[in-house]
């Protein structure tokens, strides 16, 4: 079976873009990805695009860069939206329908305020039905993890310290400031144990990727920049006694990771670096275990002994993670792949993980949908 590759990938600077439309943000990312792949919009046979806050985003992008009349499918799949687009490109190419597909994720989120699902009903339920804010929901998941493993608030805070430090070397990140442990712990408490510096920020952002069949990559001579998709897997939440009263982000991540490892034929020890879904600091430790980067209950050890720092045995979120880049929901999945692509190509600058050959990306959106990809330099 021939392989499928990412041959162009880009994320715009995440942050505040008040004077651009979502279509323009997506167009900017898409053009950079097309340029890197040395193709034009006229070579693209299908578009998988996503946004949680803008409808028909793919059409809005092509209205900017070229209305070629190709099939566009717009996705709304929470925080897994961008990765879902790449997954759909992968399966569509695998099916033989297309050989060149554009994937884009876009979000314009400045000013949205704290996210969380309002419970439908006759009266507002916040404060009665506990809290539906994302910091509360993820905080509850973190407290559950802490009760099981002995993780402390300081362990969670250390994730923010690490990721914010990494971002000082990432010019595309929104927050590029070191945050020592006491600063993280003393920041405003949003939902204990999470302080403000342990929460990702709503930003405007876009990311895009060009996915291509092996035959097409070879024909166009693009193997020098190609990133092989060795594993591409998604999962929803398997039944679990508390889900969805308490959303389970662990089960779907585990299922997707197991499928991706099996598909790629690699072992967790083969992974050189990981970009995972640290929408809140606490959940990074949970995902160390969910992605089998360590054994059960050992996530705390990984942060305490520095294993996931840039110089550690399995660097996690070298980009600075969602905690630093910001989290434009639908763009995040592709942005995580962009970071891995930089390292696999040796283009990550100061934060480069030397000799990186295989990387993993992960996102998980509440509701729930998880996506894991295993990428390798061709």
């Amino acid at each position: 079976m021939s392989d499928i590759y990412i041959v162009g990938i880009h994320m715009i600077d995440f942050g505040r873009h008040p004077n651009r439309t979502p279509g323009q943000l997506g167009a900017q990312a898409a053009l950079e990805a097309l340029d890197e792949a040395d193709i034009t919009i006229k070579d693209v046979q299908a578009v998988f695009s996503g946004s949680n806050y803008t409808t028909m985003i793919g059409q809005k992008i092509l209205q900017q860069i070229g209305q070629t009349g190709v099939q566009i499918i717009n996705l709304v799949n929470a925080c897994s939206t961008g990765a879902s687009a790449v997954r759909m490109a992968y399966t569509a190419i695998r099916a033989g329908e297309f050989d060149t597909v554009l994937c884009v994720g876009v979000e314009q989120m400045t000013g949205l305020g704290m996210l969380g699902g309002a419970v439908p009903g006759s009266i507002p339920t916040e404060g009665i039905l506990g809290s539906a804010t994302m910091p509360a929901v993820f905080g509850e998941s973190g407290v559950e993890y802490a009760a099981r493993t002995g993780a402390t608030q300081a362990d969670f805070a250390q994730v923010a310290v690490k990721n914010h430090y990494n971002a000082t070397m990432n010019p595309k990140a929104f927050l590029r400031k070191e945050t020592p442990l006491d600063m993280v712990l003393e920041a405003e408490t949003i939902a204990w144990p999470l302080t403000k510096l342990m929460c990702s920020v709503n930003v405007d952002g876009a990311a895009a990727a060009v996915v291509m069949s092996e035959e097409q990559v070879k024909r166009r001579g693009l193997m020098d920049r190609a990133i092989r998709i060795r594993g591409s897997a998604m999962a929803s939440a398997p039944w679990q006694e508390r889900d969805p009263i308490m959303h389970d982000v662990n089960g779907p991540t585990r299922l997707a990771a197991q499928k991706a490892y099996a598909m790629a034929g690699v072992d967790p020890r083969d992974i050189d670096l990981v970009e995972l879904h640290d929408c809140f600091a606490s959940v990074e430790l949970q995902h160390y275990e969910n992605l089998s980067l360590c054994g059960e209950g050992e996530g705390v050890k990984l942060i305490r002994d520095g294993s996931t720092e840039l110089t550690g045995s399995i660097p996690v979120n070298a980009s600075g993670g969602l905690l630093s880049k910001g989290h434009p929901i639908a763009a995040t999945g592709i942005a995580n792949m962009y970071e891995i692509a930089l390292h696999l190509r040796g283009q990550a600058g100061e934060r480069q993980i030397r000799g990186a050959k295989i990387g993993m990306t992960h996102v998980v959106g509440l509701g729930t949908s998880a996506a894991v990809h295993i990428l390798e330099k061709a």
Binding site: M114, G127, I128, L129, G130, E140, A191
Partner: protein
């Protein structure tokens, strides 16, 4: 001014008010696989796929164990903070979410997983619907050790 004198309504589908207005919890259990749900009108079982005819209604325990909780200090605009958002495993199921009150305060020790809690019913913080109707909600309170 019109004075509305209608009886309070349950705030959630897992609260039942009897003819005299006495509240209790109501839930569903799958007789095929044992899964429990904080609901009264499920279409089918989310665990085994059993159809509605295998789901039976039951009155769950009003005591349970705190599974997880956070102290909410910044909420949505207009919502008073702090409060404790809690996930509780009722004895015999199901799990329900709610607000933990009558604790000693708002320190992590006051909302520690494993703590025993009971369910109390009370007015839904004075919130009313557009017709002026009031609602009965559930709250968790610690059971002193």
């Amino acid at each position: 001014m019109n004075v509305v004198t209608q009886a309070p309504k349950p705030a959630f589908p897992f609260i039942l008010l009897d003819a005299s207005g006495q509240p209790s919890l109501i839930a569903q259990k799958c007789t095929a696989c044992g899964a429990t749900y904080a609901d009264s009108e499920r279409v089918a079982c989310g665990r085994c796929g059993g159809r509605a005819d295998v789901l039976e209604t039951f009155l769950p325990a009003t005591e349970g164990t705190l599974h997880s909780a956070v102290i909410v200090r910044r909420g949505f605009p207009g919502v008073d903070v702090p409060f404790i958002s809690a996930v509780v495993d009722l004895d015999g199921g199901p799990t329900i979410k709610g607000t933990l009150r009558n604790t000693a305060g708002f320190e992590p020790d006051h909302a520690a997983p494993g703590q025993r809690v009971r369910v109390r019913f009370d007015d839904a913080l004075g919130r009313k619907d557009k017709a002026g109707g009031s609602y009965i909600a559930h709250y968790f309170e610690p059971i002193p050790a």
